[in-house]
Each structure stands twice: as C-alpha cells, then as structure tokens.
Amino acid sequence: MINLETPRKFRPFIKQAHQVAEEFLRANSRKYDLAEHSYPKELDLLASLVDGMGDSGQGQGAGASAVGSRDEKDDQAGKGKVKNGTNMSSVLSIIEMCWADVGLLLSMPRQGLGNSAIASVANDEQLERFKGTWAAMAITEPSTGSDSAAITTTAVKDGDAYILNGEKIYVTSGERADSVVVWATLDKSLGRAAIKSFLVPKSLPGIRVERLEHKLGIRASDTAVILLENCRVPAENLLGNPEIDVKQGFAGAMATFDNTRPLVAGMAVGCARAALEDTREMLAKAGVVIDYDRPAQTQSYAAATFIAMEADWEAALLLTLEAAWLADNRKPNSMEASMAKAKAGRVGNDITLRCVELAGTLGYSENELVEKWSRDSKILDIFEGTQQIQQLIVARRLLNLSSAQLR
C-alpha cells in the first residue's frame, strides 16, 4: 500500500539521532568551520556511542557500514513482505546528522566512506578482520576524477603481497582515519576489470599523508593527499575477488556507489533542510506569511520562492528514500540512486544559496550558519559522482545505451 511517511519503527530512533546531532554536531558547527584541520574531539564520545548501538543491534543502521549490508536474519523475517531496513534507516540518520553539520558527519570516527566500501564488497572473513577500523576512501588522482576507470595507481603482486604505487587526492578523513581503501589497477592494459580496491592500514611503511587541502566548505572534515611509495599490502587485504573478470568489468567496484549515492543525497537533503528551517524563521521575522492554500503567484516573491524550494527539497527527499527502499527490498536501484543524487545534489546547492540571497547580509554573515551551509552544499553535487556523471548514468540506463554509445 502506497505510503510515504517515515516508517513508524524508525521514528523514535530519528528523534534520538536529531537530538544527538544537535548537541554534538550543530553546537560545534562554526567552531570547526573556523578552525580548519583541528581535530573535533567532541566526536570521539559520539563515535563510541554509535559503535555501541551498532554492536547491540540497536543502531538501526546508524553507521556507514550498515549500507548494503547483507542481513540474513532480516531477509528471512521479511520474506515476501515490504521491508524498511538498514538502507532506509542509514539515510534517515544521515539526514539528521547533516541537518546539524555535513563536515562533522564526514569526520565521524569509524564511519568513513571506506567503511561503506568494506561493507559492500568485502568477504565475511575480511568483514570480521577489519571490524572497528576507520577507513577513508581513495579513488581520485591528480589527473583522474570522474573517469575513475582511468586511474594510474598500480598494484603489483609480489609473493603474498601487492606493491602499491601512486598519488591519491581528495581523501576524506585521510589524516584521521587509520586505514585507507585504495583503488589501484592490477594491469592498466585490461581497463576497468583490473581495478581492485585494497584496504591499506596507515601503519604500513610506504603510505603517508602529503598535505591537507584548504576548502570552500566542509572544513571540519580533513581532505588529504596520500602518497603510496612501494607500499607493501598483504594480499588478503584485496577487497572482494582478486581475479580479473573482464566480463564483469567495473560492476563490482561500482556496486559500492549504488549504496553510497543515496547517503550523499541524504547529506544534501539534511543540509538543505537546515537552511530552509532557519530561513523560514528569518522570513517570519520579516513579516512573510507562507500560505499553502493560496496560489503561490498571489503571494509575496519570498513566500513563492520558499514554496518552490520546499517542493524541490521534498522531491529530493523522496527520491532518496525511494533509492534506499529499493535497496532494502532487494530491487535494482542504480538508476534511482543516481536520480536521487542528481536531484538532491543540485537542489541542495540551489536551496542553500537562495536562502542566503533571501536572508540578505544577515544570511551572508558568519553570525548565521546559512552562509556556511551554502558553502558546504557545493561538494555534495560533486563527490561520489558529479551532477553530470549522475545524468550520464540515468541517461544510459533510461535509453539503454552503453558507455561506448553515450560517452
């Protein structure tokens, strides 16, 4: 039966997440925006709380490792029945966290994108062995962004290990994490199929942080350049299947993205909601009344703009929930995940910027957070696949075109 309300069983947990987000993240928002690169120690306590919830099974997928998780118990219990599972709860939790602060969410210990990758592609033995690690994700290189199939970092088998060489940039939490999931190619001539991901503990010789970036937004989150110089990684740290399967190609590596794109869409939805809430208050103080029944064109420009922004926001939210719902119910969601990311990424940025415009110098000032959110939101339309990459994915799926036909 069609129903798009927040699942009843998640409502108490979301309320809790919201309170936590307000106390631990929102309260420290400006502090770490101003103090770029300083470690947000307030998060340590919160992280152990999240770990605890995860261990006791009460987390409802509060952590990064919950997405795409293969929960057998859930599967049997919910056979033939519609399920609201960990993909949905993860997205809902991330929305609350990013309502508070995207940068701090990204800095949550042990909740890196690398952890999502491990959850998506690691085998059971690896899942157990890498439990508790804080894993960053390293894909992008100085001359390779969206075309991740073209990466040049190499992995050469040498006995019971792989030797990794290359330079990775834009590694979120690259300094603070204790390991990095690195994408490297086993054989450049074999293209996408030869790209594998490796869990590289930072304690190994040959991996080091070269420097940290200074950024437009999400300054609370450290973004590192990582160098791999003859870094010897145990062979059993290759995530997933070590064989080069030319037929399967890139699908394995890309599967991670189907799970993480709704999460990034959720980040944009949370961030934009924060901006809408504050702007609504500022507009109310300025005497703007928003009436949902009267035609928007008969109301003030500010009211009409606000309704338009809310409409786009709601569409982004529901597309995000749809992608998560499909994943929870074991239905293919690659196109929907990209739709969600495309819509949420662009409207998240548009809404936050427009909120600053409506709020004038009040919104532009560091006295309010809305200017910060309008800087933070930009990255959400870029990382985990830019707006244009999402459109490419949607178009290929929709029109049934290969990457050779629609380049």
Binding site: N3, L318, L392, V394, L399
Partner: protein, 431 residues
Amino acid sequence: MGIGLAVLNRIASSPTIDKLKLRKTTEKAVYEGAKSGFRVAGASGRVFKRVKGSGKPTRLARTSDSGVFDLEPTEDQQMIVGVIKEFSAEVLRPAASDAENVNDTSKEVLAQTSEFGLTLLNIPESLGGLSEDRSAVTGVLVAEALAEGDMGQAVACLAPAAVATAISLWGSDAQQQTYLPDFAGDDIPASALAIAEPRALFDPFELQTTAVKTESGYVLNGVKSGVVRGSEAELFVVGVDVEGQGPTLVLVESSTAGVTIEADPSMGLRAAGLSRLILQDVEVSADAILGDGDAADYRECIRLSRLAWAGLALGTGRAVLDYVSDYVKTRSAFGEPIAHRQAVAFMVANIAIELEGMRLVTLKAASRAEQGLDFAREVALARRLTSEYGMKIGTDGVQLLGGHGFVKEHPVERWYRDLRAVGLMEGAVLV
C-alpha cells in the same frame, strides 16, 4: 484497501474491452458536432427527483496508517491501473487528435469510462457506489493512467466523477440521496465542478461569483471558467462567495433560469470542451448549499482538485518521456542517433528525474489525504512541481523533436499545450 471488490468485478466483467476490440470504437465515434463559439442556455437535462434526507450523510472511511514506507500499489490498484492503462493506450491515445478537433470527447469513450465505474470510485457502497474506503491514491493513479493516453479526454471522463465525489464527501444526506443514484446508474449525468473565474491572479479563496441570501434561498451572480463540457452538463457544483460566510460550494442544475453556457476553447484540453458558466440572477433554494457549507470542506475540495491535476500531469509527463526516448534513439544527425549526444541525453535524463520526483511528492500528498493527515503542504508542493517541471517536460519534449515537435504529426505539441493547464486550473477534477 481503498477499493471494494465490486470495482474489480465490474472491470473484470466489463464487456467493452473484449467485444468492441477497443480501437474500433474510435472509428465510429459520435460527437455532438464541433463545439466552439456557441452560447446557449444550460442543457435542459434531467429532473433530479428531490429526496428528503433521513439523517446523517454517509461518509467513506479513512485508510489507516500502515506505518511502513511503501511504494508498491495494492493488488486492487494494480489491476485497476492495468485496465485503465490499456484503455488509455488503445482508445484515448488514438482518439486524441479527433477529439481535439471537435472540442469534445466521444459518447463511446465517456460510456466506456462510466462502465468501468470511474464515477463510482468514491461513492459509498450503500449509495450504489463501489467503495468502502476513501482512496485518494487510487484517484491519482487513475488520473495518471488516463492522462498517459490523453489529458483532454481524461478530464472529460473525470468531470462527472468530480461532482459525484464532491457530493459523496461533503453533501448532506438529502443531497446524496437525490443525486448519487443517477451517478450510479447507466446514464450518468454530464456534470462539472466549477471553481475558476476568468481573471489574472485568480485565487479560489477570493471569489467574485456571489451568493446573496434571499427569503427562500440564494441568488447567484458571476462567471466561472474551466467548466468541463459545459453545454452538456446537467449538474454543476459551483464555488461561490456566500455573503458574510466566504467561499462555499453550491449545487446548480443546468435547467435553472439564468444559467448560460459559453464555449471557451483554450490553448489545450480541447477534448474537455472547456466552457464558461454564466450565472445571472440564478435563484437556488437554501438547501442547494453543498452539505453544511463548511469552510473546511471548500478548502479540502480545492486541495483534492489540485491533487487530481497533479496526477494528470504525471500521466502526460510519462507520455512525453516515453515518446522522446524512442525518438532520440531513432533520429540520426551527424551520422549517429542524437541520443548519443550528452546535450540530448541529459535532457531526457532530467525529464525522468523530475517526473519521478513530482510523482513521489504527489503520491505522498494523496496518501496523507486518505489517511486523514494534513496534506495542505504536500498538495502545494506537488502543484508547484507538476506546474514547473510538467511544463518543462512539455517544452523539452517539443525541443527534443525539433521541427517535428512543432507540427501536429506528432502528439508532443498537444502535450505541451495540455501541460500548461496544470498549474493554473482550479476545480474540474477531484480525487
């Protein structure tokens, strides 16, 4: 469940689909003749036999909150939508061009939709209808499926259902007993829900059509627009400003003195036979006010009507998406299908993204409505999205076809004209 088994029985046993082989009906379509430029008195129509009410009106139950986020329609809904989609593709789409040319929807098409029980979806079983529960979601899905074939004819088919739904939702016991049996019968009265008025920045909460109290009832004066198949209509539910009370719905039979209908052919929706309803010193009795004239009823009517328009936009948007997807893959330029160009492919991707987004918001509004939750905000958002992106889809559809989009050889220019209606229409349809 939103729909009783009766609906399914009715659809399953409907002989139309098998016997007439669908397409044939459109070849021998009977129209009243071209419908533009007339000005006539209201259809003389039938006499609705007054029945005295015996107590409380019947109301449909609300759907209960399942507590689970779910995008899967019920089996009943899937079946109804399946049948209507088939009808839409086999009958409405091929008939669209002819219907548009004569500014009307054929009697066969109208008869077939009443045979499906389209009018009855929101009439309680005890009053001859087919419903146990209120289902705005079913209403949206039905509107969407019809408009995928042709929005103009969809509006014509849904207009009597709007009036039946209004009486069923807000009418008094006497009004329900007087009017609803005719909507449950074989010969369903043409009827229209008239809210809009022809002026810029029209606001349905600031009506200029007035109802002034007299000793025996009210005198109505004003001009309504966007009235579906006005010249055929036998019964109107009209939005009027009652002196000292604000906007209210009132029942007006077309044979009442002072009722004039004027053709109002518009940019699109031509198969809906849009008209103006001119009320000049029209006297109605005090019990013509629908129900108890509650302001909340009127407000709900406006919201549910906008929801139906949003549903229609989804269907026409879908039609555009499917049509252009085929076109860009078969049309070649510079030696390859134009779909191979990002500038083209991204436009199609964006149509799909916005269509899915507005669909989800519309369904959320509908599901909140049927659960008895406040849905004012969600309707406003669905209206905004379907207006903004619905039109964007229409204009991009034409753009993707280039010159071919601009000529009537392809249906895309009609969809463009129809989609413009979505954000500005008030009334006419209801879920």
